[in-house]
Symmetry: C2
DNA sequence: TGTGAAAAGCTAACGGTTAGCGTTATGGTT
DNA sequence: AACCATAACGCTAACCGTTAGCTTTTCACA
């Protein structure tokens, strides 16, 4: 898995990065909707089909790190410190995410997103995919079925922190406020493991299903 | 507002209904993705531009009652019985919604939705719009700013019931399970009004902002 | 060096959506 | 009763994201 990449894959990765960088520049300069796929391909000096073999959609060009974001979220749960509860691990994770949002580059990026309906929608469906991934890890950690209502309800609630933090004047406070609302009494039905002694379930989680 | 419509508007409404009915039939018969806009327009005997002057997108043809659904949701809060709390009113509302889902026509409709990625995505962004509307009513009812974190968190949690109920083997139980998790202790921060004596705030709500 | 496979390319199209512009019907006003 | 502003509808032609089909280049490995 973590072998040296080889010339071929290095070139592929380079092409991919080059396309994404070119697109990002153009988006930031002229706005997402004002830049066409054919233009991007021309500017990056690749064929349109090549572009689409690297990215599933135009929006994915802007949200290149979307998958990484999901992986980090899953990691926050599976790789949390022993004796740390899942809610606590998630709170910590989202505090870090929110700090990242404050970076100047991130601020500019999210302004770009806000200016384009297409990107806004893409972002919100992204949170939803994360929701599914989070549900799967938590269910696995607790030994529950993936379809568990409480797991899904919990994941859904937690992922709501993304839009909330983004639109709040004080994102860090919003994160804390949301997680403070998760009281030990909140999850009442047969899943005290949510808050109780952490990491009791030994089931390993084999990564999210990338599309 | 509720005057007699006049010939012009009656014709317009008739055209709209005719287009929607034609489209629905074709979708149910051949599937959403297998029917093209140009076909629908031809079958309804209107121009494509006319079709798009009535509906903002192809998906909106299938989800024609989306706006009504949102209105009913808002109504469930503003028009609830005196002394009924907001969570209780919403529980009642969603129990009714879930019952509606069990109607044979509804079952067929939702199968259609499940079979098309485009419609699935449209549905989930629809819940999100409802989320904004619900946040606005609740904030208005409680005299809070629309951007209140707790209001948004609460609305977000509640709207999660839609996908949850749809994918649950026992939707009614899922609804109850979700609302049972909303304990009086859940909303702790300065908003005990969520569960407390209902309808104390007299602010009228002037309907959702239709696009 | 040869070979199979992955990566990249080209052309052409498909399907949703919109712009531009013209025509007709309707409702309200003088 | 004549009139005008405007809403509703229509036609044509395109734009834009995306994909299929097929050829060419590049690399890994024998």
């Amino acid at each position: 898995m973590t072998e040296e990449p080889g010339r071929r894959e290095r070139k592929k990765a380079a092409t991919r990065r080059h396309i994404a960088d070119t697109a990002r520049e153009m988006f930031l300069e002229r706005g997402f909707d004002a830049v066409g796929i054919r233009e991007i391909a021309a500017a990056a000096d690749v064929a349109v089909t090549t572009l689409f073999s690297h990215f599933p959609s135009k929006e994915a060009l802007a949200f290149d790190e979307g998958q990484k974001r999901e992986d980090r979220l899953v990691q926050a749960v599976t790789g949390r410190a022993p004796e740390q509860s899942i809610p606590d691990a998630l709170r910590e994770h989202f505090r870090a995410v929110v700090e990242d949002f404050a970076r100047p580059a991130a601020v500019i990026f999210w302004r770009l997103v806000d200016d384009s309906p297409a990107l806004r929608e893409y972002a919100s469906t992204m949170w939803q995919r994360h929701e599914d991934a989070l549900t799967a890890v938590i269910a696995a950690e607790l030994g529950l079925p993936k379809s568990s209502t409480t797991c899904r309800a919990f994941s859904h609630y937690v992922l709501g922190v993304y839009p909330l933090a983004r639109e709040s004047p004080d994102p860090m406070a919003a994160v804390d406020e949301m997680f403070d609302l998760i009281t030990p009494g909140w999850i009442e039905i047969d899943v005290s493991g949510f808050h109780g002694a952490a990491r009791s379930a030994p089931q390993p989680y084999h990564g999210a299903e990338s599309s």
